[in-house]
Every structure is written in structure tokens, then in C-alpha cells.
Symmetry: C2
Subunit: 226 residues, 2 copies
């Protein structure tokens, strides 16, 4: 019988990444979860990630701190910018420049150290907010880079970036997660959740989540502020 393979799963504590973790486990991987504390407003997400990692008995859970406040330019890391409460055209101010490139870089480093050749990330190109680094062509380019950047690639192995949610709608993601027993009450999606993980109900991320539960015909367990 084959040993289970190690995988690195990027786990933010949101709805999408919790579903990705459930999928990776169902596929038989030994999961090592990685959260990134990048100065985001919604640090309640990271507390959620920790709880989810424990619940899933992952092989390891890490949080890497990266101070993106030094770079700024996003309403999620620059607290002088307001989080918008209506969907606008174009790339929104909540876009964190190069965030998924950074997250995948850190996951790639960890994968190398663990001898893992599989990385899972919950990017989604359907019900998403218009971020350039959520598109399939971005993921394909990172996978190509990963071959060239790493020891695994040099030694002839294949480093694979798994994006099981890429072409699913938010409702489909929720449906898949519920099949796998994901407890969405544990997840935090809101860009400006309070310390207890209660959501504002008004930001892009809250709206996409609400719409997803509505379309899935499922009751949204999110706790709201006030």
C-alpha cells in the first residue's frame, strides 16, 4: 500500500480554503496547512484557520507573518483606506497586490522542505472579485515557475498546484463542502470581521458569501455584527 503523500494546503480560515482542505483530505493527502498573517484587517480569519486545522487533525499548521503594511496599496492592509460596501467595476481596492503569488511562494518553500509536490489553493475564477491572480492562466504560470524554482523540479519531479474550486460557483463550492461535512459556521469570510469572527454583511466578500448560500438553497450560518 502506498504511503499517503504530503500536501501543503493554504488555509485562510475562509469558506473557500476550508472546503479545499476537506477536498485534499478526501483525496487522501496528509495535509500541512499554512496561514499567512499579512496585516489583514480580518485577523479573525486566522483564528478560524487555527480552529479548522485542529478540527481536521492536520499533520501540521503554521502561520507565517509577512508585513504587507510596508507595501500598502490595499484596503485590506492599509487601515487608512475604507473597505467598500458595494461591488464596483474593475479591480477593487481590496485587491492585495501580488497576494496569491506571495502565498504560493511561501507554500512552495514549505513544500520543498516537507518533500511535498502538491500544493492546494482555493482560488476561484467564477464568483470572485476581479483579482488578476485568481485566473486559470495565473495558476498555470505559477505551476510552470514552480518546476523551475525548486529542487523537486531540478530533480525531475513535478510540483503540482491544485485548484479544486477554480471553475465552481460559490453555491457549488458550498454544496461540495457540505457533502464533505465542512462546518461553515467555523469559517470567516468578511473583510472586516470583528475579533469574534462576526461579519459586517456589507463588504464584497460578505455579499458573495450570502449570494452563494442563497443560490445553494442552504441556510447561511454566518454570525453578523449587531
Amino acid at each position: 500500500m502506498n504511503q499517503p503523500k504530503n500536501a501543503v494546503v493554504l488555509l485562510s480560515g475562509g469558506l473557500d480554503s476550508a472546503t479545499v482542505l476537506a477536498i485534499a483530505q478526501e483525496q487522501g493527502y496528509r495535509c500541512h496547512t499554512l496561514g499567512v498573517a499579512y496585516g489583514q484587517r480580518h485577523s479573525a480569519e486566522l483564528a478560524a484557520a487555527e480552529r479548522i486545522a485542529q478540527k481536521y487533525h492536520v499533520s501540521s499548521h503554521r502561520v507565517i507573518h509577512v508585513d504587507l503594511g510596508q507595501i500598502g496599496g490595499s484596503a485590506l492592509t492599509d487601515h487608512s483606506l475604507a473597505v467598500p460596501e458595494s461591488l464596483a467595476a474593475g479591480i477593487p481596492i481590496t485587491y492585495v497586490p501580488a497576494r496569491n503569488t506571495l502565498f504560493l511562494s511561501l507554500a512552495l518553500g514549505l513544500a520543498e522542505v516537507l518533500g511535498a509536490a502538491d500544493i492546494f489553493i482555493g482560488v476561484n475564477a467564477v464568483d470572485y472579485s476581479g483579482y488578476p491572480d485568481c485566473r486559470p492562466e495565473f495558476v498555470a504560470a505559477f505551476e510552470r515557475l514552480a518546476q523551475l524554482a525548486t529542487r523537486v523540479g531540478v530533480e525531475g519531479g513535478v510540483m503540482q498546484i491544485h485548484t479544486p474550486l477554480l471553475t465552481l460557483s460559490k453555491a457549488e463550492i458550498i454544496g461540495r463542502g457540505l457533502q464533505l461535512g465542512v462546518d461553515y459556521a467555523e469559517t470567516v469570510s468578511c473583510y472586516q470581521a470583528d475579533v469574534d469572527g462576526r461579519a459586517c454583511g456589507r463588504c464584497d466578500s460578505c455579499r458573495l458569501r450570502q449570494q452563494g448560500f442563497e443560490n445553494a438553497g442552504v441556510i447561511d450560518p454566518t454570525r453578523y455584527i449587531g
Copy 2:
């Protein structure tokens, strides 16, 4: 007359990146330097980066902290591993997994925020230590990724990764830097320099540097321990 263009220059405080900064300035860019504190042993490098940035009157200098000690796997970030003092075949233990991918990701985020489409990095594929992420094909793959990952790319711009040292020998790098007035006494290359920036003279990086000065026929201004 055109306004000078902004560029992000990765500046570690070593010989290579100091030379890259001099080259970027000579090419007329307004340089924004970026150092990464990744838990490296040789934090004297970062102090050197700060001095060099000041001396060159860069438009801005930032240091981003990323705790790669969480990931481990390298003698540069895991203090339980010894820095080797002889060159060995293969990828050495001083290799920091996915380091250049991470550095370029952070530079990419900063470039987006500054509205810069030019990133400079001192990777070198000649007198290097056998790291996979110093090869031209790695740089080309990152450049392709950068187009897809960013607002600049989405809006039809071109994000360029400049690697002016890529095909130079260490001796040629030193020769080029001296032409441009780089003061190599300010730079720190050693993997285990002391807090004053004095070098061990025995690690891979010290050996490559010594050999470079010898081949360039120039006196090495490095200060050594003991």
C-alpha cells in the same frame, strides 16, 4: 523630457545587489529598494543594505519581515544546521527554498503599488552556488507570471524583471561595479558575518567573493573575523 521611471530594486546588502542598484540608477530609474528580513543568519547584510540605500539616495527603502524560520530547511534560516565551509556538489544546504520566488513576489506587490513596471534582482547564473532559482529559465517564468498576476499586466502593460548580472562572472560584476563607483567595503556577502559585518572567509559565499576579487585583479576590501 520624460519623467524618470520608478523601479523596485531588491537590495540584500551583498556585493551583487549593490552593483545592481548602481546599474539601475545609471540607467536613469528612480529606485525604490527592498530588503527582506527572512530570519537569515547574516542580518549584518540588512544593516549594509540600509547604509547603501542611504548612500545612493534612493527614493525609498523598505525592509519586509518574513519569518522563514517557520519553514526551515536551510542552514541560513535554521540555526540548528551548520553553514558548510567547503563547496559540495548539488544544491547546497544554504539554499533557502523558494527564496527568489518569495523576494520577487514581494517586489511585484511593491511595484504594483508604486506604479512601477520594472524590477531589478541580482541573480547570477555563472559564479553561483547551484540554486535552481538563479537560472535564466526561472527568471523568464517569473516574468511571464508577473504579467498575469498584476493590474499592470491586466491593463496591457509589461512588467519587466531586470537581471543585469545574469550572465556575468563574479569578476565581471566587480569590474562593472567599480566602474560605477560601488564601494564594496560597504557590502556584506558572508553567510555568517558577525554583527559588525565582518566575514568568516570560509563559507561558499565568502569563497565566491574572494575568487571574484582575485580574478578581477582587485584588492578585496572585505573585513574578516579574527
